[in-house]
Symmetry: D2
Subunit: 349 residues, 4 copies
């Protein structure tokens, strides 16, 4: 859990916000002698670098493209310091919970969830440079921008450094996320399709503006026969698809192929430039925001995306086990949930 | 309701599936003397053009990029005729419910939800051709492809006709959807952000592969200062933004500007070409699907998208009224929910 | 399903309402060739004996202890004919769904849910007359009042007949419900305790006024040591309790002993006596209700109680399987869910 | 909030457990400058008198009528010290949240929720001694057993003292709870009837065995005409009932009369007598429990019941406002939610 929180925390490298939040987590309940007890797990992560005075002017002025104005419209009150629930600090809880979910999925079904940065502003990583079958966490973590191609990682870091020294924020970016060895059968018809659950989960992360699954928007330029994923039976007798434009999900249900998603993040809203805005009293004014924010959000967004995907998959795995594995109708067709060789009560959760 | 169902139904024009489902709806419960009684509204829409024999071979073969294989993996059983819940016929319920939601939103808050086709395969409607302030339903419905620009509508229809006569399906497409006069304050922080709710809702529609809100993926190429929407106070004393890259939602909460979304639909999976696939018994075979399907799904997807957006917004409006309008803390900041001149108990629901 | 609906329907015997609703069910969706397809099962049960004119005066007058007044207070509109959602006809849906749940529970875990009438007005069946280990459905169904003791059944029927001929309704009554062979481990700590779920479910039935589990209100007169259920290990090596004042649930979780509940039903509100009431316009008036209602509700309440209990247990069984059987931590302690000899994929659902 | 927690905490008087938990609450988030910010309110209440060694033998033995055995059957693991989630300490969270709900209900609608002890073992407070129209919190809090009749309070305290000195626990008891000035219209037809919500909420409290609303089990001995609550129009032009056997709820919806409930609590399971039980290894043994527990649970259960009722009512008030006050259909019939003279944005929350 601490490993994941460190991937998320501010101040982890020169290209993230200079805030020095250590984000040390302490588990207050729910775990005893190394195993979960079933009780809700409370994780306490105090904020060690809160500077209230940075936010004084903002108590009356609405920062453009922040949640200040809409929170006031909705609630009539907001937590000015650090943004309250609109602060990206709330993602600590997501990452902590996701760490548990990832561990369970890994041990139970061998499922691996890996996200990486595939675009920073105008530096776009070509998709065919990354082999999703062999991609590793080490490769992603081998550089501070979390791009698994060393050459493009350098380009991205250079681009961020160029604006960072001027106190600016660079443009937005894209995080690609894949799931390997996802159990088959996750997701439900109609409203609870797996891609809908995934879209909701990642689009609830701060700064997201778009979501794609499989072929995504690019797939609209293909014809039906170009887009279809033909089936075959592999050497292990499993039904597979030769291509994977479906992105591992067909009819709302995982088919065992690699799930692939792309998520668009807008540029950081807070810069150091002067901007026009209005106050709570609707008076126009000019604002220079002084908070210490990331020049580029996507490197720190990587563990957030992984966490949200893990939480969705574990929820769906439990639902699937509770529904379809409780009373299998046709075991010859229905997929076993576990990898060969893994027995559920032997795995070290 | 029937108007909306007619926009969705097959056989409505030459560019949709030749199936002749009339989709006449009959309300069985929940409405008495012109008003809803609070009881669940049951709408009965029998299928008048079901041809079971079209689907005989498909009972053993898995159609590529359909839900056949994943349903068997999950359930061990599936409704072969018409696809069961994986059939787009299930969207009738969405459109019927959405018709009620749209009426309430319109009468209560003047909210208008308008979707249109902005891309068919390689015919891409330039965004600046459509003025979202003045767009009307009549303009969208003025042609069978539901593109509000007549010139591009003709291009799209021509492209569909070209493949239709060969029995093929054209590529996918994009539906753009806007919401005008959306009440401010809808949506919640953290997990229930309005864009997350909208993403989940539309991504649960069949054939969707991507979702964008506001600036979307294109916005990643902007810098923070280019992307920010500066605030001003308009002539009615309302806080507005000069630009709208946020797409009407900031911090997960609607700000009263036009909400704009783009949704990617993949090409129709069923074509008349021969494809490789496998059977339930994992034997490889070649399949020519014979169902009667749309050469292009996006014209019929337009009312589906509108319906899902309407359902999300009405849910959120009820939540907002139940939470924040029940005990307003600061009425000077919090937004009234109703348009001037509209009184809730006077509106003809 | 039809068997259960027949146990619920009006006009089944002389001691129920003389309305002649046949309640013939027709399954419109969700079942194909004898197995469920996973699609929602739609059951259509038209009302064949609706007499709208019986209810004319009641369109303006509020019947005492009916839902008329509160529905108007809440909604401002109500379905006068037959009571709409406040009519006990809505329990058809519960009984139909419960029939499916009971079948699954029976086949999967051997679970039996049996309810019977243990009190009609002042005729109180002594608890020790009924042996819950050997009670059968046949015994319960052997008389029209559904009391498994023939002597007390006669007393109850006589009491009902005495008031029925005068057009009156008798007092209320009590339904006792037991669950045999309930899987262990159902229910959750804190808010979702099994007894809380059961209480909610049965207290949502019309006319219920009280709920007891295990020792109930009578148990408050025992001391702690009198009330405690001591553990022992039975001849099959299973941990059991010698007494069962807990009613089969400890700490909110089923322990495998017989679950026992008692539910109080108030007397039928509609009688043929003149009563004081007010109209929608708040004018006082006298009302003689003319609907045809049961002289005693409890015989027909028996299948309703069983249905609600079945639905709760199946929900909890699915939750338990999805959570604790997905990754058992200590299989020596955790209970297998199935009866010995039953294999889930062999059972004829 | 602290006032309510003090009513709940152990060691508050000689008739409660001698554990000295101060239960001092500290609000970690969600409140700023005296108003809630909309963020989740985190209340931190550390346990200051935890004695792990009291529980050593119980790590292997199952205490009768505790959750030890069922937790192991379900989870295979449990928190031995203090019982984890099966400890009544979890009710701190309920009482803290209920304190907020009670304040909102009081300020917004003048709603008062008052619970008191009406039975301790064999000391039964006659119902007609308490006038629910004039009952006050001061009267209830005027003695340590929380019985509003001084004479019966003394009897109850004497009964508890008699067993307390011997280290025993007395029998169970009953808590009666009333709600005055409950807004009309709360609750929904069919499944979400208000009494069902209330039953679920209080039956999720530890040690509950029964729930009654209005006339309860005693009402089954009345005939329909004896039980019915006739309507009249009072001097303020409000529709009222002359009697209140319905307990303030008709058709699942509050009618503005006093809501009255009775809840049965079983005797404290842990006593100091020797009892037979089994170990995790299914070996039989004798156990003397050493934890420090209440001789009688009902005095401390009073604030728990109030809290759960408050939470249900506030939920339902929000739902009602979000649904029926958003678009009233017939304002002449539908009830205003607020007391005369109260304006929602003026009340000091």
């Amino acid at each position: 859990m601490q490993f994941e929180l460190d991937r998320r925390r501010p101040g982890q490298s020169r290209i993230t916000t200079p805030r020095k939040e250590t984000d040390t987590c302490r588990i207050l309940s729910g775990v005893s002698e190394g195993v979960t007890t079933g009780t809700a797990i409370t994780v306490f992560v105090p904020n060690t670098d809160q500077r209230g005075h940075d936010y004084s002017e903002m108590s009356i002025a609405y920062r453009p493209s922040h949640a200040d104005a809409t929170y006031d419209m909705k609630y009539g009150v907001r937590a000015v310091q650090g943004g309250g629930r609109s602060s990206a600090r709330e993602t600590i809880g997501r990452v902590a919970a996701g760490a548990v979910a990832k561990k369970i999925l890994k041990n139970l079904a061998g499922t691996e969830i890996l996200a990486y940065v595939s675009q920073v502003h105008k530096v776009v990583l070509p998709e065919d440079l990354i082999d999703h079958d062999t991609l590793t966490l080490d490769l992603i973590e081998s550089n501070i921008v979390r791009c698994p191609d060393p050459e493009y990682a350098d380009k991205m870091i250079d681009a961020i450094d160029a604006v960072r020294v001027r106190g600016n924020s660079i443009g937005g970016g894209v995080v690609t996320c894949i799931v390997r060895s996802c159990p088959r059968g996750l997701g439900s018809p109609v409203f609870d399709k797996l891609e809908a659950q995934l879209a909701e989960a990642v689009m609830s992360l701060p700064a997201t503006k778009g979501f794609e699954i499989g072929s995504g928007f690019a797939g609209t330029f293909l014809t039906g026969s170009e887009h279809n994923d033909e089936f075959f039976t592999d050497e292990h007798g499993r039904i597979r698809t030769r291509t994977n434009r479906s992105g591992g999900i067909q009819g709302g249900i995982s088919n065992g192929e690699i799930i692939s998603m792309r998520i668009a993040f807008k540029p950081t809203a807070t810069g150091h430039n002067k901007q026009h805005t209005v106050t709570r009293d609707k008076k126009e004014m000019e604002l220079i925001a002084h908070g210490r924010h990331d020049p580029c959000v996507v490197p720190r967004a990587v563990p957030m995306v992984e966490a949200m995907v893990a939480l969705v998959l574990l929820d769906q795995l439990m639902a699937q086990h509770g529904q379809c594995n409780l009373f299998p109708i046709n075991p010859n067709l229905q997929e076993p949930m576990l990898l060969p060789g893994l027995e559920p009560n032997k795995v070290p959760l």
